[in-house]
Amino acid sequence: MNIAAILFYAISALILGGGILAVTSVKIFRAAIWLLFSLVGIAALYFWMQVEFIAAIQIVVYVGGIVVLIIFSIFLTQNSGKEMAKPATGKIIFSALAALFGTAFVHNLIVHYEGFKYISAKPFNSNVEAIGTQMLSTTSYGFILPFEAVSMLLLAAMVGCIVIAMRPKNEMETNTIKETENI
């Protein structure tokens, strides 16, 4: 057992332990922090697989963006120290059985599939230059069309978020009238 294997098992324990605690913790803020640990573990797994660019994106977007957004919304919507109601015991048992059965089933499929045993010996080149050239290439196998589509999706999501989360107009007007009356 060399150092790479030990690192892999440590990272896997961090990912799975963080994931289990994120879905079982009764305090919502703690669940968010365990999710943070799990996502950092996934970034570490990407570093271990030597895809540094994806690992950096994972840290920037998930750890720096989505988890912070989730924590903000926890603060905005509820008392973070409050314990959540526990689900019914029957539901816990059936969900755990479904998850265990699913894991065992897929694991069985993975172990008996022959194609995963022959690993390609070619060198893996995932530097940022290769990724950027192929992503913005307009020739075949270029990803410029999905890149543009996803940029439009991000713009639409941004505008949509503002519209959804904005207070209705008449409510805002009544508030301004009240404020001016107070003055």
Binding site: A5, M49, M135, L154
Partner: protein
């Protein structure tokens, strides 16, 4: 590096996916359900990167799929949180059991 076979990485991502599924089944709070969905999306990303690295190392398509999934997950989380905050304003709760107007 060769000591860890591909199947073990796939097992980690499988376990993470079903942990997310367990959370989606048991949680009744919208924010924690969103967190479970993020776990499931991340397990899929691990699969894409592992297949790309071990089975098709001369291509980069798995990495692009991972990048697009991360982008769409960010957009999805932002929209979901806007909806959650709006729901909290009208119902004073983000429990799925309290939002039952469209159920019947």
């Amino acid at each position: 590096m060769q000591e860890i076979p591909l199947t073990q990485i796939l097992f980690v991502s499988t376990a993470l996916f079903f942990i997310g599924m367990y959370g989606l089944f048991t949680r009744r709070n919208l924010i924690t359900m969103l967190m479970s969905i993020e776990l499931m999306l991340n397990s899929v990303n691990i699969n894409f990167v592992a297949f790309n690295k071990y089975l098709f190392p001369d291509k980069l398509d798995g990495l692009f799929f991972t990048l697009f999934i991360i982008t769409i997950a960010a957009a999805e989380a932002a929209v979901a949180i806007a909806i959650i905050i709006n729901l909290y304003r009208s119902h004073n709760s983000i429990d799925v059991d309290d939002a039952t107007e469209m159920k019947y």
